[in-house]
């Protein structure tokens, strides 16, 4: 993994977020409080604005910088969660990050989201995308697999994760106030994570 790749991903993730305004806002209006898109957009644009600084940093330090930038720009619930992810990822990675290391870092990032948000699988949150993805990533990295297979499998696990949130009863996040009324709606935080992961998969192609 190089910073060239990280920066390419940042640009396409920002583009994906901007293109998904209607979809994310629709989901958040149904079961959230309507600020998710605005926060995610602010955070991704803040990260995009430090691109020139990131080009000079090794991946681990770039991840740390991304984490700090998200921590101070996003706010809300997603800010600390995304920030915790990147700060933990930075700790597990190094100057020359390979897939093994990255998957370990990804898992540790997901664990720090679980700690910070005190949530688990099945709570109708972003973790319903992130946990299956981290498990799949870990097992694919351990087995050693072809790039195209990795891309395909990760993308489909992320999509399956987001679809699964539809029938879940929320227990964390703002939609918890809705309980039964949220059943039948996809979780907007899970959707955002899936969009980001699918975008990174596309960039890997």
């Amino acid at each position: 993994m190089t910073n060239g790749f990280i920066i390419k991903c940042i640009d396409s993730v920002v583009q994906t977020i901007l293109n998904s305004e209607e979809e994310i806002e629709f989901l958040d209006r149904a079961i959230g409080d309507g600020d998710h898109y605005i926060n995610i957009k602010r955070g991704s644009i803040a990260v995009q604005s430090i691109k020139s600084e990131l080009t000079t940093l090794p991946p681990d330090q770039a991840f740390k910088k991304i984490g700090m930038t998200l921590m101070t720009s996003v706010g809300g619930a997603s800010g600390p969660l995304f920030a915790s992810f990147f700060l933990a990822l930075a700790k597990e990675t190094s100057g020359e990050t390979n897939l093994q290391q990255f998957s370990k870092g990804f898992t540790s990032g997901v664990e720090s989201i679980m700690d910070r948000g005190k949530s688990k699988l099945g709570d109708k949150t972003m973790l319903d995308v992130l946990i299956p993805v981290s498990e799949k990533l870990q097992s694919l990295a351990d087995e050693g697999c072809e790039k195209h297979q990795l891309i395909k499998e990760i993308d489909s696990v992320a999509i399956a994760g987001v679809v699964a949130t539809k029938d879940m009863m929320p227990s964390k996040g703002r939609s918890a106030g809705l309980a039964e009324r949220a059943i039948g709606h996809i979780d907007p935080g899970a959707k955002t994570c899936q969009l980001i992961i699918s975008t990174v998969c596309k960039e890997l192609k």
Binding site: R29, G32, I38, M71, V74, G75, R116, R174
Partner: protein, 334 residues
């Protein structure tokens, strides 16, 4: 959407500058990161720091001043502040007796304040407010939401801290007041977040959202609009049930503090009408209203609607509620 805005991105900062300017005898606004402190910082008392998403004004900035808060950290509209704001504010104030964070129980606020408290080198405690009786506390919720009862916590603990109370007694008193408060809100219309430009939720012309949160987030159920005293009856029974479950006896002769709070889109005349309906019902139930407050104290942008908060008083809470306070939006005794 029609709002007084220059640039959407500048909404909060433009508004905060006006607030600080209008009340420059009381507060100072810091930019980069954003926080508001008392004009004269007193490092020799427990520092009371609150904050949260903007859009609930006068909560929290309007309660900065003698006898109440020392610092407020406003976030973007309905979005919690970020940890760097709280860290910078505490570092500027250099409190010698520690910091008490007063945080409304929303996952975003809790997490950002938690990150901040992990990163400061001062003694600290946190009071989480969760007075909203609407959301039932179960394994399916993050717990109850903090709403208008928060300002009662800020006033009472503010008085105690001003009188020299130490950190642990401030924390204890804050938890007690929160426990003694119960609230429920009803929305008649949605609010519009400036950056979103459209209503947060759809609601029919003849509908109300019962148990609404202060971000326009859904509560218990969607109802048809009815006569005010019928709506008030439902609101009261939710609150009374909550006090029952907390095993607090509202018939205490020391009485209650009744706060009828507007979400800002409902005129005062309607809030007083609600107050009257509540007080008649409480009289039937032999619950004594000892203190009252009616007005827009914890708002939800331009949402129409109101909440009722009852706080069971004891001698300590009553004494600190009555003590003098000098903030832009709550002031007496000076």
């Amino acid at each position: 959407m029609k709002k007084f805005i220059n640039k959407t991105d500048d909404f909060i900062i433009d508004s905060l500058k006006g607030f600080a300017n209008a009340h420059n005898n009381l507060v100072t606004l810091n930019l980069n990161p954003i926080f508001v402190t008392r004009k004269e910082i007193n490092p020799n008392k427990v520092l009371l720091v609150s904050g949260g998403g903007s859009g609930h004004e006068p909560l929290h900035t309007g309660y900065i001043g003698k006898g109440m808060l020392d610092v407020a950290c406003p976030g973007h509209v309905f979005t919690s502040p970020t940890p760097d704001q709280m860290i910078a504010a505490v570092e500027k104030c250099q409190p010698k007796l520690g910091v008490l964070f007063i945080v409304k129980n929303y996952s975003g606020d809790v997490m950002n304040f938690e990150m901040a408290s992990e990163m400061i080198d001062f003694d600290h405690q946190t009071v989480l407010t969760n007075d909203d009786a609407a959301v039932i506390n179960s394994s399916y919720t993050t717990g109850r939401r903090g709403v208008a009862g928060t300002l009662i916590v800020e006033k009472v603990v503010g008085s105690h801290a001003e009188a020299g109370g130490d950190l642990s007694s401030c924390k204890e008193l804050g938890d007690k007041v929160n426990h003694h408060c119960s609230s429920i809100g009803v929305a008649l219309s949605s609010c519009i977040i400036p950056a979103a430009g459209k209503p947060t939720f759809d609601i029919g012309i003849d509908e109300i959202e019962f148990g609404v949160g202060i971000h326009g987030e859904p509560g218990r159920k969607r109802d048809k609009i009815r006569m005010a005293h019928h709506i008030v009856e439902d609101m009261l029974s939710a609150i009374l049930k909550d006090f029952d479950e907390k095993s607090l006896d509202l018939k205490d002769p020391r009485g209650i503090l009744l706060l009828v709070n507007g979400f800002s889109g409902t005129p005062l005349s309607e809030l007083y009408l609600i107050y009257q309906a509540v007080s008649e019902k409480l009289e039937e139930k032999q619950i004594y209203i000892s203190r009252s407050l009616v007005g827009n104290y914890t708002t939800a942008l331009d949402m129409a609607g109101a909440s009722i908060t009852m706080c069971l008083l004891d001698d300590e809470i009553k004494k600190h509620w009555d003590s003098s306070v000098l903030t832009s939006n709550l002031r007496w005794g000076y």
